[in-house]
């Protein structure tokens, strides 16, 4: 009889301990949440240059996540099947998203202000495209 009461008391104590633990965890999570939110808000978001026209060829959010897929697909279509639609072509991207320097000349991907560089530098993702591809429209022949 006395044994069983003892056990009951122990269980009750541990119940109280568990509840305390969960409360503490919840506080901790809230604090972490608030801190990370403020950190996120304070983090420098890349200042993405605006392209020509009102709207990109696809939704901006979609392009942010999937532009590489579109480019990869278009690359094979153009290379092997000669399909040269402008919509998803890298050349067309470079024409709309051209960034100019102080003297109003288009900058290449060597310049950190280049449209692609701004985000890719921020996300620390290297771009291999421009080892071969032009990163700016061809300058008009002036001779």
């Amino acid at each position: 009889m006395s044994k069983s009461t003892n056990r009951q008391a122990v269980t009750r104590r541990s119940d109280a301990g568990k509840t305390k633990f969960w409360y503490r965890l919840a506080y901790l999570l809230i604090i972490i949440g608030v801190m990370s939110m403020t950190a996120y808000a304070a983090a420098p978001y890349p200042d993405v240059p605006k392209g020509k026209g009102d709207q990109c060829v696809e939704d901006t959010e979609f392009m942010r996540a999937n532009h590489m897929e579109l480019l990869l697909h278009q690359r094979d279509e153009t290379m092997h099947r000669g399909i040269r639609t402008k919509k998803h072509s890298l050349k067309n991207c470079m024409e709309c998203h051209v960034v100019t320097d102080e003297s109003n000349r288009p900058v290449s991907a060597e310049n950190p202000k280049h449209f692609c560089r701004v985000c890719h530098d921020y996300a620390a993702v290297s771009i291999d495209c421009f080892e071969c591809h032009a990163s700016k429209p061809r300058a008009k022949q002036s001779n």
Partner: protein
């Protein structure tokens, strides 16, 4: 009743209208349509083997000392040298032959011959060297590993290897270090219905030594010329069925 009659009349009118339109298409349009097909394909349409692009080069009209095709090619494709002729990219070159017996000098431009059975494609270990459906032989530089087997295999020494880091490439012609490249028959121009830069330059110089066109279309200028005049392939003995043919060599 009259309502019924008017319906019938309407039907008849439509029928005759369509019949007349069809007759017009059959009677007048074929020439027009064939012409458009030969000119340019829509940008969203894949190339097909119904077309085979080719060149006919008349060596007698190729002027001694004229280098216009080479400079036009370099300009169009952004081929800038490093002052090292041994390794600088060269997609087209002037070849001068002299017959020692008669002292007759023959000039001709030599570039990728766009073989129907290209040895460069046979030897490529990655599938980077390929022939497009319309007969243009290209290098997919995304896949090229720079092994240069194709350069060894080519009987015409038509290919170049890019040895150095490049900058300021032309948007239509991506080129990069560590890959092999050669004449693309100005594929970006051909796809929009233009002729290759070398052909245009040759015509501008009023030499008219080069004719570009569809070898599969019997009504094209090049096919008519080939049918009526003698022409030959360089190293025709190899049986590669070349897209580029020469006269007077």
């Amino acid at each position: 009743m009259s309502d019924q009659t008017s319906k019938v009349n309407e039907y008849r009118r439509k029928f005759f209208g369509k019949a007349a339109a069809t007759a017009a298409m059959v009677g007048i349009a074929p020439g027009v349509f064939l012409h458009t097909i030969a000119r340019a394909k829509p940008a969203d349409e894949a190339v097909s083997s119904e077309v085979r692009w080719g060149l006919l080069i008349n060596a007698n009209k190729c002027a001694d000392g004229c280098n216009d095709c080479v400079s036009a090619c370099n300009d169009e494709n952004g081929l800038t040298g490093f002052g090292r002729p041994e390794t600088d990219a060269q997609w087209i070159r002037k070849v001068t032959l002299k017959d020692k017996r008669t002292n007759h000098v023959t000039n001709l431009p030599l570039m990728c011959q766009h073989c129907a059975h290209p040895p460069c494609v046979d030897v490529c270990p990655t599938g980077a060297s390929f022939k497009r459906a319309d007969g243009i032989v290209l290098v997919d530089k995304h896949i090229c590993i720079g092994c240069r087997y194709c350069m060894m295999a080519c009987p015409y020494k038509a290919r170049s290897f890019v040895h150095e880091t490049l900058t300021d490439q032309v948007p239509d012609v991506p080129r990069g270090k560590g890959t092999v490249e050669s004449c693309t028959l100005c594929v970006h121009r051909v796809d929009r219905g233009d002729t290759p830069a070398c052909v245009e330059a040759c015509n501008t110089a009023e030499n008219g030594a080069m004719v570009f066109g569809n070898l599969n279309d019997p009504n094209s200028d090049i096919s008519k010329r080939l049918a009526s005049e003698a022409s030959t392939e360089i190293r025709g003995d190899l049986g590669l069925d070349l897209g580029v043919r020469y006269q007077n060599i």
